[in-house]
């Protein structure tokens, strides 16, 4: 049986998982590839650091040349995070004639065009199943299994950290700060959790999915996004009373031929599969014109689930499936976007609005008047007696019927300036479809 030699750059959480699968489970990888797949070399930044995986000394170094100069290595898993030196390393790997597998979504979201163009020029492939939703094979499902479909909608819980935080806030009645601290203590959130909680991480993943599913060429920073950092446990409780849970949803869907795309906390009707996604799990709903609605649920992060996706990519690259997909998809090419984005202010949806209002007669009428002038009609209202009052203000919750993002935003801006309302009204989308 012939040998195939592979290498890893980066031996952090995911890199260690990949090394373990390659070292401890060579039998199953051989069965899938028909070859002896040998982990030939691992490059790390800090040789002194203690590792959880045992490698003979000659297989571990801090010099990328040990990979790029070894013509026997045909595929490399790039498992370091961040943009640099990851970008430079990726280019050097491709230029040394090797195929690339990576889990680095930020790298793809930022430098996809450069890397994919270079790989195409060089006749190499890039596989990146692990970059989105960890163990859920959503990239392969969309790009291969659903290839007969026009995808019409993607809705996903793509960030496990924020889902964990929201779950804790809901189930344990914790504040955002308490839940974040717990997530950090348990390793679900990083020391600087900004990208996770402000929706940036979900937006990067959504940009990749929308690129594959819709041919949309959108930089993740162009995706309107609202994070969970301003979420209050009060809102989780009101949502619950109304029959909803709140989830950070990345959504991309076609509406009259144009693409609606955003990341935001959404009220999701209890009973819908996305409402039941707990803790650090991820989930994605995909709608296609032939297949109907498919739902995927699994671990979106963590050592072994992510390593599962990386090793599947290695196997697909070694067997030749990944290069076929890579060529067919023509991702991040200079080909034009296959879809235009709709004007975000025109995006329709239902809204949850929580006002802090003075406990005076006529307040509700005044607010309803503003909503009415913006042609926003009201589906339901919760206002409890003034025992909830805080600094003289009581919460008033309104669920609207469908209204445009722009109208809802303008109405809330106007209401926030009423004398009887404290500024800072909470406005959340209600997941439709």
């Amino acid at each position: 049986m012939a040998d195939t030699k592979v290498a890893i750059v980066g031996l952090g959480t995911v890199g260690t998982g990949v090394a373990r699968l390659l070292l401890d489970h060579a039998d199953r990888i051989t069965r899938q590839t028909g070859r002896n797949v040998i982990l030939e070399h691992v490059v790390v930044r800090d040789l002194a650091r203690e590792r959880e995986v045992a490698l003979p000394p000659h297989k571990l170094s801090d010099d990328l040349a040990n990979i790029t100069n070894n013509p026997e290595i045909s595929v490399v898993a790039l498992l370091m995070g961040g943009l640099e030196p990851a970008r430079t390393v990726a280019l050097r790997i491709l230029e040394s004639g090797k195929d690339l597998v990576t889990a680095n979504k930020a790298l793809l979201a930022e430098h996809g065009t450069e890397l994919f163009d270079r790989a195409r020029e060089l006749g190499r492939s890039i596989a990146f199943e692990a970059a989105v939703a960890g163990g859920i094979p959503i990239i392969t499902n969309i790009s291969q299994c659903l290839s007969a479909n026009q995808i019409s909608a993607l809705r996903g819980i793509l960030n496990g950290t924020s889902n964990f935080i929201i779950s804790r806030m809901e189930e344990q009645a914790m504040s955002f700060a308490q839940a974040l601290a717990e997530a950090q203590r348990l390793g679900y959130a990083e020391a600087d959790p900004t990208m996770d909680i402000d929706g940036s991480d979900a937006a990067q993943k959504l940009a990749i999915l929308a690129h594959i599913a819709f041919g949309a060429r959108i930089h993740w920073t162009e995706i309107p996004r609202v994070g969970i950092d301003r979420l209050d446990s009060t809102d989780l409780q009101y949502a619950r009373q109304l029959g909803y849970r709140i989830k950070l949803i990345g959504l991309a869907q076609l509406s009259q031929g144009q693409l609606e795309i955003h990341v935001s906390p959404n009220l999701v009707k209890i009973g819908r599969p996305l409402s039941e996604v707990r803790q650090a799990y991820n989930a994605v709903t995909v709608e296609g014109d032939a297949v109907g609605r498919l739902f995927f649920h699994g671990l979106g992060a963590g050592r072994m689930p992510t390593a599962s996706a990386v090793v599947a990519d290695l196997i697909d690259t070694i067997t030749g499936r990944a290069p076929i997909t890579f060529r067919a998809l023509d991702l991040w090419s200079h080909r034009q976007s296959r879809v235009d984005r709709c004007d975000h202010s025109q995006v329709m949806g239902r809204f949850y609005l929580r006002f802090a209002v003075a406990d005076h007669p006529g307040v509700l009428a005044e607010i309803c008047g503003v909503l009415g002038r913006h042609r926003i009609s009201i589906a339901s209202v919760i206002q409890h007696e003034a025992t909830d009052a805080l600094d003289g203000y009581v919460p008033l919750v309104i669920m609207t019927h469908a209204a445009s993002e722009g109208a809802a935003e303008a109405a809330v801006r106007e209401i926030d300036q009423l004398k009887v309302v404290r500024a800072g009204t909470v406005r959340l989308r209600v997941l439709g479809g």
Copy 2:
């Protein structure tokens, strides 16, 4: 751009859907394959029958030679049901040098070895995503996306007809016969629904999945199976009271290195994803040692969902991915089973037991005595007052702790012979894991 010519045998529900995708959406198939994919010929049994898809007369015939003698056709979708002439047609297609795509699970379950051996001898491939769970791409997910994993468990709702019937029985308090009649009226059940309701259809699909996931070589008729035809709406109601729904579950899982495999109605705890699968939907939970637990949910049958899977297979065959997978999997070869089956009587599980007992003192003690002698301990009991009595018998429901299948069966057999019990005790498994 080069042409690739494909053909279809069988223009029933699925064949019509596949023809529509090929004719109406050639653009997306071209984008995925880089080729003009042309539906060159369709063979049907009855030329006189009216068709829902318009084909020029020279592209439609009842003569398979129009496909097998045309060297330009490289892939054929075999979309007729049943075993013969499907088997003969499949062999003729392979022998004429064409790759095969099929949705015919019965054909694979019965003649997999012969067909796959012949395809290997001839250097051809067979793809069959549509044979299991319709639109859910479970075959590709297990055989490709999860290839880095040792799968430890598969649990699925694999038969949409029986799930529809159970859903109607539960939601509308219908009897089995009423729900079956409605399923037939709506086209969810065939005139002869035997294979769907007695668990055979689910067992055929489970045999295919277990073959791929575990390397198990089990003929579907060897899989212990209990259908839904003896299910009573009383049991759905008791299950509900206990916090469960009843679902027809196909299960294959490793237990101490041996394979537990069966199809049966199971009590599934409400809140678990499988408990929420309604109507004609299918769903599969897969557990792998790296990926953890993945859950897939989608339409398990119907024209377009199944056609979505068939066309994905056509695309995979044309691009070369399917042949790679076909060679790697080495399915239905004469290779030995990679796993032994465990003795079904030793399979552990919790049980729901519904007895019809005489309304006498001491009955519960007598039944508990028998269970105790078989070392079956009791988790909970429901016995209502005698207003429920029917012909002098009242229902008694017992949920057990874990016990072996053999012990539970023997205990029930013994209890059924007690004078105070009417024979015909209902025994259902409770889904573990």
